[in-house]
């Protein structure tokens, strides 16, 4: 029967971008003492995909604000707005990175750094971004996995 795989693919598409059962929705995340222990998804983060989000202008665009020595040769234009992130994995746990990425403003209310996994509390968000997170749950886990590689 040829139809089934096609239907399957369609169902998969419909789910992309919405929260699946195994994900924790933005409003359900609880940041406790600057950490979120439980991963947002069931599938572990992938550092290579994390790097793509980290450097992508339409994704995390972390490089716009953060300098990373080891990315010097491959990526142009590292920003100066945030702290350099070399060796950052020695300073924080994955749970702490998760909290920072989900919403750094719970710890630092005045920071310029965006909340990457939040859908509420925005002011005049443009239509196509309204009610959406900057990164998906999986992308957050991937970026964390990448950050964990930044050891001195």
């Amino acid at each position: 029967m040829k139809l089934y795989p096609a239907l399957f693919a369609l169902a998969g598409l419909a789910y992309a971008g919405t929260v699946t059962a195994s994900e924790i929705a933005p409003d359900d995340v609880k940041i406790v003492d600057g950490a979120v222990e439980q991963p947002l998804t069931d599938s572990p983060g992938d550092p290579e995909r994390g790097l793509v989000s980290f450097t992508g202008r339409k994704a995390g665009n972390c490089l716009a604000c953060h300098y990373v020595e080891s990315l010097q040769d491959d990526y142009q234009f590292h920003g100066e707005v945030g702290t350099p992130l070399d060796g950052i994995a020695d300073a924080y746990t994955a749970a702490e990175f998760r909290a920072k990425l989900i919403n750094p403003k719970t710890e630092l209310p005045d920071t310029i750094m965006p909340a990457f996994y939040r859908t509420s509390g925005f002011n005049r968000a443009a239509g196509k971004f309204d009610g959406k997170t900057i990164l998906t749950a999986q992308e957050i886990e991937d970026v964390i996995a990448y950050l964990m590689t930044l050891k001195d």
Binding site: Q72, F77, V81, F122, N123, R124, I134
Partner: protein, 276 residues
């Protein structure tokens, strides 16, 4: 400024390092703010943050593409338009560079009397003269006719210090503009101040952040391949933080225009400036 070009920084540039280094022109010019409650220690034009070749294009009137619109506006100035059969020159004299002196540096402000009294920027004032006095169609915002005439009116004050009034009946607009300036907008959830107050002098990706001053508007931008108003720039910055921008020519941006002009009080008018 937080960082100036140091020897190591210069070497890094020579070595072609991609780590962006904050760099201002040697002997860059700044103005000390006069207001006591001013948020900046020194007021610096966006000109000082641009690279040498961009500055050179602005400095040479024959190279500066913004001057083309100014030339066209000089012609339009004396052409009659509208049912009243009048031109700007009929009321304001033959030489706009003389009659518009003192205007460009003081807008936005309250103009006209009685029922017509309103807070206007130059664009809105020009359209008031067109519709009420010339009985002509209003010019569209950010279109060549309007941009050219706005450049002309501001250019008459080139080199003069920005000098907007923020007291009296303008005080409410000033407060409104200030509130907008410090409010976070959009999915990226940033305020103008995050980039142009807390981080000027720093690179954000490939962009060298300035103080977001408006003393050069309307400005020619290489990225636009054309000239744009201050409101167009505000709109672009809001879109970049994934926010729904306010409307050009309307109250919120007029308030923001007054407030940002005040942040640059004392800076020389550069219109038409050139930016990347």
């Amino acid at each position: 400024m937080k960082k100036l070009l140091s020897l190591t920084a210069a070497l890094a540039l020579v070595a072609g390092a991609t780590f962006a280094v904050a760099e201002l022109a040697d002997g860059y010019v700044s103005v000390k703010p006069t207001a006591e409650d001013h948020p900046l220690d020194e007021v610096i034009s966006g000109y000082q943050f641009r690279i040498e070749s961009t500055r050179a294009t602005q400095d040479d009137d024959f190279e500066n593409p913004g001057m083309l619109l100014l030339d066209q506006a000089l012609d339009t100035w004396s052409e009659a338009d509208g049912a009243a059969g009048k031109s700007c020159a009929d009321c304001h004299g033959d030489d706009p560079i003389v009659s518009m002196k003192g205007a460009g540096s003081t807008f936005p402000k309250f103009t006209e009397k009685g029922d017509h009294r309103a807070f206007r920027n130059i664009e809105n004032q020009i359209n008031f003269c067109r519709t009420e006095r010339m009985e002509a169609k209003p010019w569209k915002y950010d279109k060549p006719d309007m941009l050219g005439m706005t450049i002309l009116a501001r250019h008459a004050d080139r080199g003069e210090p920005v000098n907007v009034a923020v007291d009296g009946d303008a005080a409410a607009m000033f407060e409104k503009g200030k509130e907008i300036y410090y409010t976070r907008y959009g999915q990226l959830d940033m305020a103008c101040s995050h980039c142009h107050e807390d981080n000027y002098g720093n690179y954000i990706r490939a962009d060298h952040l300035s103080q977001g001053q408006i003393n050069g508007f309307p400005t020619y931008r290489f990225k636009w391949q054309g000239v744009g108003s201050a409101h167009r720039r505000f709109k672009g910055c809001m879109k970049n933080i994934r926010a729904e921008p306010f409307n050009v020519g309307e109250e919120e941006f007029l308030a923001l225009e007054l407030y940002t002009a005040w942040r640059g009080q004392g800076l020389p008018i550069e219109t038409p400036a050139v930016r990347n």
